[in-house]
């Protein structure tokens, strides 16, 4: 029965050891904003914050997160990043968006004035098949400026 904090709320729920954090969030807790793409750590769609750091939730087991603080896209407050994503059309189908928002949230907190290259390096951990990344880069840089 791993206990953890998810989006500020204490959570305790049964999880067999092999249950991935991504499935724990989606199936056990019903937090389906976290998307699952490749399930082997390549696509970045399932990125959440574990103790404030962006991580692929398909490469962690729920039992490993005993005592951890998890934040998912449902826990993000509306802010400059959301506004910039809308303004730049930084998404189309939206499948990758939740993960990208989580990565950028952590990254912009650590690096408030990033270069375009740094933003692109962070985004290299995410696959987006709609946008070609250019509007996502623009949105990230604008959110950093805001």
């Amino acid at each position: 029965m791993p206990r953890m904090t998810v989006n500020g709320e204490a959570v305790e729920a049964a999880a067999e050891p092999r249950l991935l954090l991504s499935d724990f969030l989606r199936h056990t807790l019903g937090l389906t904003g976290t998307h699952v793409g490749c399930e082997h750590g390549v696509c970045g769609a399932c990125t959440v914050l574990i103790d404030g750091r962006p991580a692929r939730s398909c490469l962690a087991f729920a039992v490993q997160c005993e005592g951890a603080e998890i934040m998912t896209v449902e826990g993000l407050e509306e802010g400059p990043l959301h506004t910039a994503f809308r303004r730049h059309f930084a998404l189309q189908c939206g499948f990758c968006t939740a993960g990208i928002l989580m990565s950028l949230t952590a990254f912009l907190r650590e690096t408030p004035r990033p270069s375009e290259r740094e933003v692109r390096e962070v985004l290299s951990g995410h696959l987006c098949r709609c946008t070609g990344y250019t509007p996502i880069v623009a949105a990230a840089l604008e959110a950093a400026d805001a």
Binding site: R18, I50, A55, Q64
Partner: protein
């Protein structure tokens, strides 16, 4: 896919972890950035995973880096590691992955094992039978094959202290940023000459004389992404660039 069932243990001490790792079918789980992907694809099917990330004995972070230290905590430890770090996996995997885990995994294209070999570092192993130390150059034996015995845990890697007069450089060629390296280079220029460590080309990291690069002497691999001839050309061209950068940085 989902992993096959296994038991999970979060031991309270290193002794308890090593006892558990002595049983058949047990594997250590550190950051999980290689292992969990392999579990998901059922390329690994352990009976027991021993989570070592909460053991205070494995948290040392100096010229010895303990097994519970994540890659995102390595900044500032050594100038060569600082140069290699942006190429290690992705921002999102460095949050979880560990130095020792990468070394234990032994991927021939991995950056941290390459740096450890370039620096002439050492690997500290422990099991219920005792502890031992292996030179990094002797630790890597083949693709995903190392000198670690099944019941042993890589408890720490040891880096020589940075030489303030030495020059360090790191270069990598990959299809996309964060992908596995087609070839990676760590160069160390000091008073003795230039050591060029080459990763992703042969089955293990190899060290060659940076001032007399002979790419044909390396047993380069062919694979889906690049053939051996291309990898040798990278050694000659990009390896040379790494050596020149290290020489420029040498005091």
């Amino acid at each position: 896919m989902k992993p096959a069932p296994f038991d999970y243990l979060r031991p309270a001490s290193l002794g308890e972890a090593l006892e558990a790792l002595a049983s058949d079918g047990a594997m250590a789980l550190a950051g999980g950035q290689s292992l969990v992907a392999m579990l998901n694809m059922r390329l690994a099917r352990p009976d027991l995973l021993v989570d070592i990330m909460h053991l205070p004995e494995l948290r040392e972070r100096g010229h010895r880096v303990g097994a519970a230290v994540r890659q995102c905590e390595l900044a500032g430890l050594h100038p060569l590691i600082d140069r290699a770090l942006p190429h290690v996996g992705h921002y999102q995997t460095r949050s979880r992955g560990t130095f020792c885990g990468s070394v234990a995994h032994g991927d021939p294209a991995a950056e941290l094992p390459l740096c450890l070999v370039a620096l002439g570092g050492r690997v500290h192993l422990a099991s219920a039978r005792g502890e031992r130390t292996v030179e990094a150059a002797a630790f890597f034996e083949g693709p995903l094959m190392t000198a670690r015995e099944e019941d042993e845990l890589v408890i720490a890697v040891e880096l020589p202290r940075p030489d303030p007069r030495a020059g360090y450089a790191f270069r990598e060629v990959a299809l996309r940023h964060g992908d596995f390296a087609l070839a990676a280079f760590a160069a160390v220029a000091d008073a003795d000459g230039v050591r060029l460590a080459v990763g992703g080309v042969a089955d293990t990291p190899v060290v060659i004389d940076g001032l007399a690069i002979d790419a044909d002497a390396i047993d380069a691999r062919d694979d889906f992404h690049a053939d051996a001839a291309y990898r040798r050309r990278l050694v000659a061209r990009v390896g040379r660039a790494a050596v020149e950068e290290a020489l420029t940085c040498r005091a």
